[in-house]
């Protein structure tokens, strides 16, 4: 601390004679890539940080894939070239098409349930540079396997992605990137909006009106309320999911915490 103060004093005294020489150590302002979801971006400050690893983890039906699709759609729509490394080959194209992902800008690598291949593929993609968004989808990999991943892989990825405009997103069921992740988001399933007309056994009537919700919908043009007024169809067997988003890292500042939403709603589209 004393050393830091001394340096600041020296810079204040003689800095005017040497121009910007004391500013060289300053880190450049980080750049962000929006996910296309205003509330999610609010939780994460400004979106997904470029040149860093972002981890989104949560249980099944917690909205991880939804955020992934939205981020891919937004990035591809803004002329970024994207890559998806899919360990368990679970990327649904109908859903991606509904999310309006431009497939011409998406490189899909199917790894046939091999984590090792997926990591090698990520390494190759990071080395080739120029991708705007790279997603590693480990959503279906068992937590026991994820915890066995050695940290050196993540360190390697962190160094490879550093000082590049690339966003590396890891989707997983448990937090596994550890200290190499610049941003960690936990997602949690809350409950579901079901269509009353088709209900057989509704265990959760309606939703509590929370202060902020992220809404995942099955039709990008209709709100859940409009959908429920329309006739039941293939596309609307259920209406939406209520999820909770929590930023684990970096830790919230006390002033920032007041403005951060806690919940989100995902609406259903097919």
């Amino acid at each position: 601390m004393k050393q830091a103060i001394t340096k600041a004093q020296i810079a204040a005294e003689i800095g005017s004679h040497f121009g910007t020489v004391f500013q060289y150590d300053e880190q450049p302002q980080p750049e962000f890539l929006s996910t296309g979801l205003a509330l999610f971006d609010q939780v994460t400050s400004r979106g997904l940080p470029r040149g860093a690893i972002t981890e989104i983890w949560g249980s099944q039906s917690s909205g991880r894939i939804s955020v992934m699709l939205s981020a891919l759609a937004y990035a591809a729509g803004n002329a970024e070239v994207c890559a998806l490394v899919d360990v368990n080959d679970c990327f649904d194209l109908q859903c991606a098409n509904t999310a309006r992902i431009q497939f011409e800008r998406l490189l899909w690598v199917r790894c046939s349930k091999s984590i090792e291949r997926a990591f090698k593929a990520i390494d190759l993609l990071l080395q080739s540079r120029g991708f705007g968004l790279i997603v590693l989808n480990l959503a279906d990999v068992r937590p026991t396997y994820l915890r066995r991943i050695v940290s050196s892989w993540w360190f390697r990825f962190r160094l490879a992605v550093e000082n590049t405009p690339t966003v590396l997103v890891v989707i997983s069921s448990v937090a596994c990137v550890r200290s190499s992740a610049a941003l960690v988001i936990e997602m949690k399933y809350e409950d579901t909006h079901w269509r009353q007309a088709l209900t057989g056994n509704n265990i959760n009537q309606g939703l509590e009106s929370e202060s902020c919700h992220l809404s995942l919908v099955k039709s990008a043009t209709k709100t859940p309320l409009q959908q429920s007024a329309s006739a039941p169809s293939y596309s609307h067997l259920f209406e939406g999911i209520n999820i909770r988003i929590k930023r684990e890292k970096p830790v919230f500042n006390p002033t920032e915490l007041e403005n951060i939403p806690a919940f989100a709603i995902l609406d259903n589209i097919r």
């Binding site: 039906s61 490189l107 046939s112 396997y145 209900t199 990008a220 589209i269």
Partner: protein
């Protein structure tokens, strides 16, 4: 001053290929500036060959005259023609038309110094004149020839001695051009033909190769030469073909189609090696041939405000490595098929050019939305489950085959459906199904419910989990 040589092929010897082709090969051996006047006549510009065909080293101090150089060139052409079994006449002159007439009329080797054109050609009959060289059509040429014959003019010398003014009065400008031709004073440029460039490199090996590393050295050498010849023509390759003759006398051929023209030998070498690694030849290699399909190189100016994209050359190598890692069918850009069949898609080769051309028409990109599409995680293949039903509705699922990492089983907490769909009834792989969205209290994880899409395959009456909403 330019020096032109003309080679005239007299006759066809036995065992020689078609007339004209060998003559061009012979001419291109001595100069890249060639005019093929007719099938049996070529004119070449032999200017500036003093270093090659000038005086010998022992006579270095002696003045190297153009005549000496021309002599040496003609001698070299004759030697080369003899090796190629061509019977030719050669003439050298400062005027290409004079050289043509001399080669056609005078046998053997003829060298006409500047200023002696009229003297050398004077004895030639007017029947040997090629009127087309000075832009006179054949019929008109015959008329002029008959006119001159009626005047008693038989040779070049007779015609050259006539007054130009008198000829202009009687034969017009055509007569004047003919007079200049006879005196060797015509001025024109050669109608050059393009050098037939072959982008192919071949190497016969003394010992057969069985390993990739020595082959890499050979491929590197051949590709360097190939790319150098492409660069010399300001071209690049958009397709590379590798043919390897194997020890068992079979041939192993690989073709790499490139989305953008490339002429970087290192990139091409990596691509070829990755391709050979993925599909190696079955026996040792005894000869290697690489050929390239030439194309104009890529010219692209990136915008200042357009996001960076991967370098095309680097991306090609990355895609090749990914193909080797996970299989070519598992890498690419997805494309939905125009059918209602669930999960019908195909993989296309990912191309950065297509990515750049695709128009950004995503409304989500313009404004951030507070809503988002529910994601769906599809199981490939669908998980076969045992389903307990009450009044046709699923109430409990039990996973039957462990084909996914995350097992889903337990009591159905909520159900919505069914939605019946079918298709392709005219094909053998007809599909028909009842779909349900369900919430399952997952007995394996004590945490949350899982939202799934299940379906009953009506063709076999079995239940499957298609995927999980996430």
């Amino acid at each position: 001053m330019a020096i032109f040589g003309c080679i005239y092929e007299q006759s066809v010897l036995s065992g020689k290929p078609a007339k004209g082709k060998s003559l061009l090969d012979l001419a291109f051996t001595f100069s890249p500036l060639i005019e093929q006047t007719s099938a049996d006549t070529v004119v070449l510009n032999v200017e500036g060959q003093e270093l090659l065909y000038g005086a010998a080293l022992t006579d270095a101090k002696a003045a190297v005259t153009e005549i000496q150089c021309a002599n040496n060139v003609v001698s070299a052409i004759e030697r080369c023609a003899a090796r190629m079994r061509l019977k030719i006449n050669v003439a050298i002159s400062a005027n290409p038309d004079v050289a043509i007439h001399a080669a056609r009329a005078l046998k053997g080797m003829t060298i006409i110094p500047p200023g002696e054109e009229f003297a050398k050609l004077g004895t030639l009959p007017l029947t040997t004149i090629d009127y087309e060289l000075i832009g006179i059509e054949k019929n008109r040429g015959e008329e002029i020839h008959d006119t001159l014959a009626s005047w008693g003019v038989r040779t070049f010398s007779d015609f050259g001695k006539l007054s130009v003014t008198a000829i202009a009065q009687r034969l017009g400008q055509e007569g004047v051009r003919l007079h200049e031709l006879v005196h060797g004073r015509t001025q024109r440029h050669l109608r050059l033909i393009e050098v037939p460039v072959s982008f192919e490199q071949k190497l016969e090996l003394e010992h057969s190769l069985t390993e990739l590393e020595p082959l890499a050295f050979i491929l590197s050498r051949l590709l360097n030469q190939l790319c150098a010849s492409l660069s010399s023509q300001a071209l690049a390759a958009n397709e590379v073909r590798l043919r390897m003759r194997l020890a068992d006398r079979s041939e192993h051929t690989r073709t790499i189609s490139l989305p953008i023209p490339i002429r970087n030998p290192k990139t091409l070498l990596r691509l070829l090696l990755l391709d050979i690694e993925s599909k190696p030849p079955q026996s040792p290699i005894s000869a290697v041939t690489i050929s390239a399909e030439p194309a104009k190189p890529r010219m692209l100016q990136n915008g200042l405000f357009i996001p960076l994209t991967p370098e095309p050359e680097k991306l090609e190598v990355t895609l090749a490595r990914l193909s080797k890692l996970v299989g070519a069918e598992n890498v690419g850009s997805p494309e939905l098929l125009n059918t209602h069949r669930p999960d019908a898609f195909r993989m296309k080769k990912f191309s950065i050019a297509a990515a750049r051309q695709s128009v950004s028409s995503n409304p989500q990109s313009e404004n951030c939305s507070s809503n988002c599409v529910v994601g769906f995680k599809r199981f490939r293949p669908p998980v076969h489950v045992e389903m307990q039903t009450v009044h046709g509705q699923p109430v409990r699922i039990k996973k039957q085959t462990g084909s996914i990492d995350t097992p889903i089983s337990g009591r159905v907490m909520f159900v919505s459906g069914p939605w019946r769909s079918s298709g392709d009834w005219w094909r053998s792989d007809v599909w028909a199904r009842d779909e349900w969205d369900i919430a399952v209290a997952n007995s394996n994880s004590q945490s949350d419910d899982v939202l799934c899409r299940i379906y009953r395959d009506l063709t076999i009456d079995e239940w499957f989990i298609e995927g999980v909403y996430d």
